[in-house]
């Protein structure tokens, strides 16, 4: 059980490790970022569209050559009245809509012209800028990945590379996308693992990774609890010491060492240059740091996984699983010589 837990923890960390660091890093960015700047709206100012017209100049609804609209809005675009007829729309503005713009004075269908769009874009920008280009884009739109409706893109030559996006159905300014906003969008894309640029976070890739991270956290916490139970996570108040008589198995030489009681035996021995064989560096997973003791020592899960029943009964334990303070006499097989030879 324990072995499964720790090896699962390692394999999961291999799978999600990099994304986990990305999540943490981008999370820190969101925590620290300047929200005003990151919205891209530092130069955004409202465009005044209203004007007054004599009501009699507006063509009555029943003379409109359209049927089946579910909503009509009187929309002013730069001082000119339009009827915005909505036939189909979703709960969110970015979702696909079926909309027609009609000149409210003549009754003729009149989509936004490029000239109007350019004027709106310039008016929405607080400062003097020049337009590089204006294009009507159809979805998918790179910088507004969720948008499902046609949108005008007006490029400015300002220092921050601002692109103004204008809703082709209403003339409303949807966003100023500049380098600050692009940085935030990149961070969001990384955080949402939106590597296919869908603009959302409901996709299988991130769900799989979220499940894997959940398992990673759970196995990690189980491991910690296990550590705590075996006394390796206790905060020591005063470091006490323990006299331990260590016998080398092959030479049968004995030494009495003064070890720190609240340190894993494995580490405490290492400090006195008694190096036990190990592949996992005291992690309780390699099972190589075997020692022998006549004392009745508790058996941890790691030991159950790594040592056979008979070995345990004989008094073999893993040095990394016990505190130096638990023992007084032990027998070890060191790799002292080979370690020096290396």
């Amino acid at each position: 059980m324990f072995k499964l837990n720790t090896s699962l923890h390692k394999w999961l960390s291999l799978l999600v490790g990099i994304q986990l660091l990305i999540w943490l890093g981008t999370g820190l960015y969101f925590n620290l970022m300047d929200h005003q700047k990151a919205s891209g709206a530092v130069h955004l100012r409202p465009v005044n569209h209203n004007a007054s017209t004599s009501p009699t100049q507006l063509i009555p609804f029943d003379q409109l050559a359209f049927d089946g609209a579910k909503q009509i809005k009187l929309l002013w675009i730069l001082g000119h009245p339009y009827y915005q007829l909505t036939f189909e729309s979703g709960p969110h503005a970015y979702q696909h809509k079926s909309v027609t713009l009609v000149d409210a004075k003549s009754g003729a269908v009149r989509p936004l012209s490029e000239t109007l769009v350019r004027t709106i874009a310039v008016k929405s920008y607080d400062g003097a800028v020049n337009i590089i280009s204006a294009n009507l884009l159809t979805p998918p739109i790179d910088e507004l990945p969720r948008e499902e409706n046609p949108v005008w893109q007006v490029k400015f030559d300002d220092a921050n590379n601002t692109n103004v996006y204008i809703d082709a159905n209403s003339g409303a300014v949807l966003a100023h996308v500049n380098d600050d906003r692009r940085l935030k969008d990149l961070m969001l894309m990384l955080h949402f693992m939106d590597y296919f640029n869908t603009g959302g976070f409901n996709h299988w890739l991130i769900i799989v990774f979220a499940i894997a991270s959940l398992l990673l956290s759970m196995t990690g916490i189980t491991w910690l609890v296990e550590r705590f139970k075996s006394g390796q996570l206790r905060i020591m108040l005063k470091p006490s010491s323990q006299q331990v008589t260590v016998t080398e198995q092959s030479s049968q030489q004995s030494n009495t060492l003064t070890l720190k009681a609240q340190q894993p035996l494995f580490d405490a021995l290492a400090q006195h240059n008694v190096l036990l064989p190990s592949n996992c560096g005291g992690g309780g997973t390699c099972g190589m740091c075997r020692i022998h003791s006549e004392q009745p020592l508790k058996i941890t899960e790691a030991e159950q996984a790594r040592l056979s029943k008979s070995k345990l009964d004989e008094g073999y334990r893993l040095a990394c699983q016990h505190m130096a303070g638990e023992v007084t006499h032990i027998t070890v097989r060191t790799q002292k010589k080979s370690a020096k030879a290396q």
């Binding site: 999370g27 959302g200 409901n202 956290s217």
Partner: protein, 249 residues
């Protein structure tokens, strides 16, 4: 070296590990629940055939405007309310109505047939409207008028006030918020949304109002988490390399 890293990884995670668990749990909830479902879009139906359109085609419902029935024209409206802004013609139940903003009067609702200004919704009308647009079959459990900011539940933005809060019976307590002046459903809430909101708060570690990603607590834990996770990455890396070396031998 590796030993030290192992030790620090263990000790740091002993402090921030629980938050990693919370992050992955809340994150998993948020990414696996469809955001449109969370918004309660399924609770609401826009189209419903009504009696007077019985002989109309199946696609035609009361949500389609009948422009010849608009007796009170836009010019009538503009001469009576010259400062009207944001005028729309739409529906309230099977009635065709104008909605607009007026400097002096605020949000105004007008019957497009008679031109009469409609009074703010009373309880019976609000109930009727909620039931009409509710996709479920549950009965109404409560109806409450909310008009001041203090009594606004945290799940509703105060800019929508005044609203009728209509809560339906059932496990997820679907709730409709209907603006009293415009008779529009401004928001729908249900259990999954409320849970999402809590998940979000725990995710950004903002335990007071859930609005603020820029809190120092998150900063501290995320920084420690970064260090702890990087050390974890070193341990994993070292493990793989060791295994490779072992394999080569």
């Amino acid at each position: 070296m590796i030993k030290k890293i192992r030790k620090y990884h263990k000790w740091l995670m002993a402090f921030v590990g629980i938050q990693f668990l919370i992050w992955s749990l809340t994150g998993l909830y948020m990414v696996s629940m469809d955001i449109h479902f969370i918004h309660g879009e399924h609770l609401r139906v826009e189209h419903r055939r009504v009696e007077h359109l019985r002989d109309a085609s199946p696609q035609q419902t009361n949500q389609t405007l009948a422009l010849d029935k608009v007796n009170y024209s836009l010019s009538n409206l503009l001469s009576e309310y010259p400062h009207a802004q944001n005028i729309t013609l739409g529906h309230m139940l099977d009635k065709q109505v104008y909605r607009f903003m007026d400097h002096a009067r605020g949000k105004v609702l007008i019957d497009a047939d008679s031109g009469k200004r409609l009074a703010p919704l009373n309880e019976a009308q609000a109930l009727n409207l909620a039931q009409y647009h509710f996709s479920g079959t549950a009965a109404v459990a409560s109806a409450k008028l909310i008009s001041d900011v203090e009594n606004t539940p945290p799940e509703l933005s105060p800019r929508h006030l005044p609203v009728w809060q209509i809560t339906f019976a059932g496990f997820s307590s679907p709730t409709f918020y209907i603006n009293q002046y415009t008779a529009e459903i401004v928001t729908t809430r249900h259990l999954a949304w409320r849970m999402f909101d809590w998940m979000w708060r725990f995710h950004i570690m903002d335990y007071d109002d859930g609005e603020n990603v820029a809190n120092w607590f998150l900063l501290l834990i995320a920084l420690l988490g970064c260090v702890a996770a990087s050390m974890g990455a070193v341990l994993t890396y070292q493990r793989i390399c060791n295994n490779k070396q072992a394999g080569a031998k």
